[in-house]
C-alpha cells in the first residue's frame, strides 16, 4: 500500500508518527553532545583528569623533589656550620650577575660622568671668582665643626679609595700592579676599610645630627634650584647659611649614609651569623650607595676647593670674606650684619661705603 493511497486521518496520523520517530532519533544523537559541549567549556571534569595525575606520579616521582632542592630547600647535615643543610642556593648567581653586571657598569659610568661634567664646567665657565673681595672677614665655621668636617672627609676618602679598590681593582689595578702587587694592596685595603668604618660612622652620625635642622629646605631654596645656583639664569639667587645645593648634598649623605651604615654593619660582623642572602643584599646596597656618594662627593670636593673662590678658606681658617658671604649667602650675611648692627648700636661700617652688588 502506498502512502498516497492512505486517505484522511490515517494519513495525518502516519505523518505525525514519522515526524516523532525522526525527532526522537535526532534528539537521541544530539543529547550526548551536550556533555561534550559542557566538557570542552570546562564545566564538567571527568575522572580522566585524575588518572592522568596518578600517571604523572608514576612517571617521575622525583621531579618535584629535586625541583624543591634546586629551589633551596634545606636538609640535615651531620657537619655543623653555616647553612650546611642547604644543598643549593640561588641567590649567589643573581648576586654575581648583579655585581659584575649593572652594579659595576653603572657605578663606573656614574663616576666617569661626574668627572666629565666637572671638567666641562671648569673648562667652559671657569672658576666662580668673587665679585669683590673686601678684606673683611666673617666667622662661619667654628673650630669644632672644622675639625669634624676634616675628620669625616679624610676618613671618607680613605674608605672610598679602599672600597673602590675592592670593587674595581681587579679590572683596573691588576693590569697596572700585577696579581701579587694588587693582592698585597688589597690585603691592606680590606682591613683598613673594615677598621675605619666605625670611626667614620661615628663622625658621620654626629655631622648628620648637628646640621639636620639648618638643612631643611625653605622657599628661597627652590628659586636657587631653578637657576641651578646661578649656573643658568639669575647669577646670584639668594640663599641662607646653606644653599640648596649644600642642603641636597646633606640629605643624600643622610639617606645613603644610613644605607651604608646599616648594610655595612651586616658586612662587618659576619660572626653574628647572617645568612648568605642577607650578605648578598647588604653588599649590593653598600656598594651602590657608596659609589653614588663618591660620585656626589666629587662635586662637593670640586666646589669646595677649585670651583668657588673663597670657599676653601672658610673650612680651613673658619672665616670667609664678607664679599663671599654677600655673593653666595646673602640672607645669612644680612642676618649676621643686622644683629651686629643692633648690638653695636652703630650702623654697619659698610652701610655707606659698600658698593652695590
Amino acid at each position: 500500500m502506498r502512502v498516497k493511497e492512505i486517505k484522511g486521518k490515517r494519513r495525518k496520523r502516519l505523518y505525525i508518527a514519522l515526524a516523532a520517530i525522526t525527532a526522537g532519533l535526532l534528539v537521541a544523537m544530539a543529547l550526548p553532545l551536550t556533555g561534550y559541549v559542557l566538557h570542552s567549556v570546562g564545566l564538567v571534569q571527568v575522572a580522566q583528569a585524575q588518572e592522568a595525575d596518578d600517571e604523572d606520579e608514576a612517571v617521575n616521582q622525583r621531579a618535584e623533589y629535586w625541583r624543591a632542592v634546586r629551589g633551596g630547600v634545606e636538609g640535615y647535615s651531620a657537619v655543623s656550620g653555616q647553612e650546611t643543610g642547604v644543598l643549593i642556593q640561588n641567590g649567589g648567581q643573581k648576586w654575581r650577575e648583579t655585581r659584575d653586571g649593572p652594579l659595576s657598569f653603572f657605578g663606573a659610568s656614574l663616576i666617569i660622568a661626574v668627572l666629565v661634567a666637572i671638567a666641562a664646567k671648569h673648562l667652559v665657565r671657569g672658576r666662580d671668582t668673587l665679585d669683590e673681595r673686601t678684606g673683611r672677614m666673617m666667622a662661619r665655621w667654628p673650630a669644632f665643626e672644622r675639625a669634624l668636617h676634616w675628620y669625616v672627609a679624610i676618613l671618607f676618602i680613605i674608605l672610598a679609595i679602599t672600597g673602590l679598590s675592592l670593587m674595581f681593582g681587579r679590572a683596573m689595578l691588576i693590569p697596572l700592579m700585577g696579581k701579587e702587587g694588587f693582592a698585597a694592596w688589597a690585603q691592606l685595603a680590606k682591613p683598613v676599610h673594615d677598621y675605619l668604618a666605625l670611626p667614620f660612622a661615628a663622625g658621620l652620625i654626629l655631622t648628620l645630627l648637628i646640621y639636620a635642622r639648618k638643612m631643611l629646605l625653605q622657599s628661597h631654596d627652590f628659586a636657587w634650584l631653578r637657576s641651578m645656583g646661578g649656573l643658568i639664569g639669575d647669577r646670584h639667587p639668594p640663599s641662607g647659611f646653606f644653599n640648596a645645593g649644600e642642603k641636597i648634598f646633606f640629605w643624600l649623605l643622610f639617606f645613603c649614609g644610613i644605607a651604608i651604615m646599616v648594610s655595612g654593619f651586616y658586612l662587618l660582623f659576619p660572626n653574628l651569623g647572617w645568612e648568605r642572602d642577607a650578605m648578598q643584599l647588604s653588599h649590593i646596597v653598600h656598594s651602590a650607595s657608596g659609589v653614588f656618594l663618591i660620585a656626589v662627593s666629587l662635586g662637593h670636593i670640586y666646589l669646595g676647593s677649585f670651583g668657588v673662590e673663597g670657599a676653601l678658606e672658610g673650612m680651613v681658617t673658619g672665616s670667609v670674606d664678607e664679599g663671599f658671604a654677600k655673593e653666595h649667602h646673602v640672607l645669612w650675611y644680612e642676618e649676621v650684619k643686622g644683629i651686629a648692627a643692633v648690638e653695636d648700636n652703630t650702623p654697619a661700617p659698610d652701610a655707606t661705603t659698600a658698593t652695590p652688588t
Partner: protein, 196 residues
C-alpha cells in the same frame, strides 16, 4: 683531555660520612673548616635521600668571577683551584657559590675570616706539586701521583664517583639502566601529562 667531575648517586648514598672523614683526615683540615659534607633530605622519612657535596669545580665558576683579587684558576683537567697567598678573606666566593664550598678558618668581627679553604679535588694548589708548602696549605696532592680524590675512593657504596666526566657518566648510566623500575625521566610528567 679529561674533564674532572664529581657525581654523587643519591640512590646509593647511605650517609655514612666516610667521604667527609676521609677528606678531613687526609688533608688535616682544621677545626671549623668543612671541605665536604653530606646533606640528607627528608631525614627520617622513608625515601630520604643523602648527597655528598663539596666543590663541584664548575665550568664558569661563580667564585672565580667575583673574587676581587682574581685568585682562582682552572687547571687543564677542569679542576678549580685558588692561591691562598693572594686571598684576602673577603668572603665573596662563599656568597656566590651555589654549593657553599668555600670555607673559612675564622669567624670574627670586622670581617676577619682568614684564608679561604675548599675542596681541591685532591689536586693541591699553585705551589710545587707534592712539596711540603703545598701540603701544608692545600692538603695532599693525589692527582699529581696519578690517583683520584680520596672521598670517592673511600665511599662505602661507591655512591660518590670522581674522575673524568665521561667515564663517570658512563658508570652512572649503566646503573640507571640496570636499576630499571621507577622511571627517572625528568619533566615527562609535566610535558606529556594526559598522553595515553
Amino acid at each position: 683531555m679529561a674533564r674532572m667531575k664529581f657525581l654523587c648517586d643519591a640512590e646509593r648514598c647511605i650517609e655514612c660520612n666516610g667521604c667527609v672523614t676521609a677528606c678531613k683526615n687526609e688533608h688535616e683540615v682544621p677545626w671549623g673548616v668543612n671541605r665536604r659534607r653530606v646533606v640528607t633530605l627528608d631525614d627520617g622519612v622513608p625515601g630520604e635521600k643523602s648527597i655528598s657535596v663539596a666543590c663541584m669545580h664548575c665550568t664558569d665558576a661563580p667564585c672565580a668571577a667575583v673574587c676581587p683579587v682574581d685568585c682562582f684558576y682552572t687547571t687543564d683537567d677542569g679542576v678549580v683551584l685558588h692561591d691562598k697567598d693572594l686571598c684576602i678573606g673577603c668572603g665573596y666566593c662563599f656568597y656566590a657559590c651555589p654549593f657553599g664550598a668555600p670555607q673559612f678558618p675564622q669567624q670574627e668581627a670586622f670581617g676577619v675570616r682568614g684564608k679561604m679553604d675548599k675542596c681541591t679535588f685532591c689536586a693541591g694548589g699553585p705551589e710545587e706539586d707534592s712539596s711540603a708548602a703545598e701540603e701544608e696549605k692545600y692538603g695532599r696532592n693525589r692527582v699529581a701521583e696519578g690517583k683520584l680524590p680520596l672521598c670517592a675512593e673511600m665511599c662505602s657504596t661507591k655512591a660518590l664517583l670522581a674522575g673524568d666526566g665521561d667515564m663517570v657518566a658512563d658508570i652512572y648510566r649503566e646503573r640507571i639502566t640496570k636499576r630499571g623500575g621507577r622511571p627517572e625521566t625528568w619533566g615527562w610528567g609535566t610535558a606529556y601529562k594526559g598522553d595515553a
